[in-house]
């Protein structure tokens, strides 16, 4: 058996015989399994709830009776974002971004949140997710087990005879690191189970395996850091204090500072300020409801010429539907400019925040984790874009029905009497323009590429720490 393996086995034997180590591991495992189970239940419930609401919303829209198509434009429709399979592990931004959109003509509504009642299932601790436990609390466990790896040898004066009998410092550190890495693999078992479950829910093997790999690198960074400090400092109390300070700085303080600095250096325009600017621009556009608006004069003329008639009443299409479609297209173009501008600004801020992963691996793993899980800002934007495309599609479908299936005469006379009112409507089969909304997340390879920079940061952290361990191992003294 190699010396490295012998040292690793001995380290495990020490942990197995340490009541403190066993107690800490047991508590961690209980918390992790509980949180994983509750998060899975919550996501499962939300997934079913959203699917149910989506089907309900589709059915409600389709079952509307014959009516004026523009009433259906304003009747609107709800779409829901189904949670990603890996959201059972890392819900990411899902809890702070909306999952539901009310789609209607002439407006781009903000996404709204899912029911907050689900937070009660963790006794107010719904913010605690398996991912957060791995990102914040698993390093603590590694510190508890790893802080004494070398210092314990020093304090028990076993380091000197070990080195004195020809064992090199590098071999000793390699054995200790191997023990910690085996422990990290053990810690990853619940994550692997979550990843396997996500495969059953349609997640790709690439994304699930990459997520496990990312956490393997992240926890290895902490193992390396614990071992490095343990091999440099001579007193266990000093090692523990230093590692506790590192944990506090890297997992709590620096990420919070990074968020504040990113918000300050890449500020977002306030929602009210942005909407006022947008409304000013929108007001300058034509009103699709007003067929006599002067901006449509040229459209009138070109339509009459195209159809070879002198009056709008003689057109084969209902000019009110045509103009509604044109106005919606123009309005949507303007709304999209503002939406894209806002999303670009949000992405700039998110990218800036992600860059701080060079300073703290906790931030790098958080970004990589939610990117691979499909619960990051980019996926929220994908939902908004897909929902907007869906909204525009069904509104224009209704405008087409307005133009092609409802006569202009019936349309303008609809308020004259009951009979006219009944004539100014189209068949309910037109409501089928609202198709089933299916949110399409990015493919696994796209997510992996997006997480590339954060993964590079984690690998760089591990490479630097490995280099420092090799250097320290060559100079290890009792």
């Amino acid at each position: 058996m190699s010396a490295t393996l012998t040292i690793a086995k001995e380290e495990w034997r020490y942990w197995r015989r340490s009541n403190l180590a066993l107690a800490v591991v047991a508590v961690f495992i209980v918390i992790l399994i509980s949180v994983s189970w509750l998060t899975a239940l919550r996501m499962h419930a939300e997934s079913h709830e959203r699917a149910h609401h989506q089907a309900d919303s589709d059915q409600t829209f389709h079952s509307q009776p014959d009516r004026h198509p523009h009433r259906m434009v304003h009747y609107g429709h709800y779409v829901f974002r189904a949670p990603m399979p890996l959201a059972v592990f890392d819900p990411g931004l899902d809890s702070v971004t909306g999952q539901t959109l009310f789609l209607e003509g002439h407006r781009q509504n903000s996404a709204t949140f899912s029911a907050s009642g689900s937070s009660a299932d963790l006794g107010g601790l719904s913010w605690l997710t398996p991912a957060l436990i791995y990102q914040v609390f698993a390093p603590l466990l590694i510190i508890v087990l790893g802080h004494g790896a070398v210092t314990r040898e020093r304090e028990s004066r076993a380091l000197a005879p070990l080195l004195a009998q020809g064992l090199t410092g590098r071999t000793l550190l390699a054995g200790k690191m191997l023990a910690l890495l085996l422990f990290v693999l053990l810690l990853l078992v619940p994550l692997v189970v979550s990843a396997l479950i996500s495969l059953g829910s349609g997640e790709s093997l690439l994304a699930a395996a990459s997520l496990v790999g990312v956490y393997l690198v992240y926890l290895s960074v902490w193992a390396g850091l614990a071992l490095l400090i343990s091999s440099i400092l001579h007193k266990r109390s000093s090692v523990l204090a230093t590692l506790a300070a590192c944990w506090l700085a890297l997992t709590l303080v620096l990420p919070a500072v990074a968020v504040n600095v990113s918000s300050y250096t890449a500020p977002l325009a306030g929602k009210i300020e942005m909407e006022l600017t947008m409304l000013t621009e929108v007001r300058d556009l034509s009103d699709g409801h007003d067929v006599d608006d002067s901006v449509y004069d040229r459209v009138h003329a070109s339509l009459l010429e195209e159809h070879g008639v002198d009056r709008v009443e003689d057109l084969e299409v209902n000019i009110r539907g045509v103009l509604a479609g044109m106005a919606e297209a123009k309005l949507t173009e303007t709304l999209n400019v503002y939406a894209e501008r806002r999303m670009e600004a949000e992405m700039r801020q998110a990218d800036l925040l992600g860059g701080y992963g060079w300073l703290t691996p906790a931030l790098a793993v958080a970004v990589a984790s939610r990117t691979l899980s499909g619960t990051d800002l980019d996926h929220y934007h994908r939902f908004l874009r897909q929902a907007e495309e869906f909204r525009f599609g069904f509104v224009q479908g209704l405008n087409r029905a307005h133009a092609e299936e409802l006569s202009y005469i019936d349309d303008i006379n609809r308020s004259r009497d009951e009979e006219s009112w009944m004539r100014a409507r189209v068949d309910a089969s037109n409501w089928q323009v609202v198709d089933e909304f299916r949110y399409e997340p990015a493919g696994a390879s796209v997510r992996l590429a997006s997480a590339g920079s954060s993964i590079s940061m984690l690998i760089a952290w591990l490479a630097v720490l490995s280099g420092m361990l090799v250097w320290t191992g060559g100079r290890l003294k009792p």
């Binding site: 001995e10 028990s156 004066r157 076993a158 000197a160 005879p161 080195l163 009998q165 009792p478």
Partner: protein, 248 residues
Amino acid sequence: MKTDSSAKLQADQLHIYRSGKEVLSGISFTVEGSEVYALLGGNGAGKSTTLLSFLGFLAPSGGSLSVDGVDVGTDLKAVREAIAYLPESASLYEHLNAYENLRYFLQLAGVPDDKAAIEAALDRVSLDPESRGRKLKDYSKGMRQKVAIALAILRDTDILLLDEPTSGLDPNAIDEFHDLVRGLADSGKTILMVTHDVYGACQVADRIGLLRGGKLVGEFSAPEGGRIETETVHRAFSNRTTRKEQAA
């Protein structure tokens, strides 16, 4: 460098600095094969520093060290493989029993696991068979010291470096330990021990080097078939002669 080809351990004009302070100021001595050499000195005299230098843990700023003819600075691996080192207060694992401790250290030293040899070594150091399966946290200091010596026996190195080996032991344990050390030397082992125990050094050592303030201020050899006279060494150790000289 002057190398005495018969010397197992040799320090020649050794200078060592620790934290900017000169701890050893040009000491020279040799330890021959099958010899017990005791470096005697008070606290801070540089005794442990000398041992750590032979192990390559401290680099000399001047002079040289050799182990079995090999310069410590040139082939540290060979030097360490030739030495068994017992630090002050036996350094073993409290959560392991005697067998587990020995097996672990021997595995790392590349010595084959031989149950009979382990039992024989523990018999040789007279460790009570009933206590061998107990964890070392329940051992007395003397019992731990016996396990550490058993390890040295099992590693079968020619040279043993012992740092304050009798510190904290009761008189019976000290006597037992001295018998053990003498037996090892008689079986061909070379032993360099550092101690501040004048009586113990005189009981067991063939030669004693007196270290004071980082300098070797005297050497005493045992007469053929006899022991070094305790009173002479004690006087030199407590510097009485020097005081008399100063008074004169």
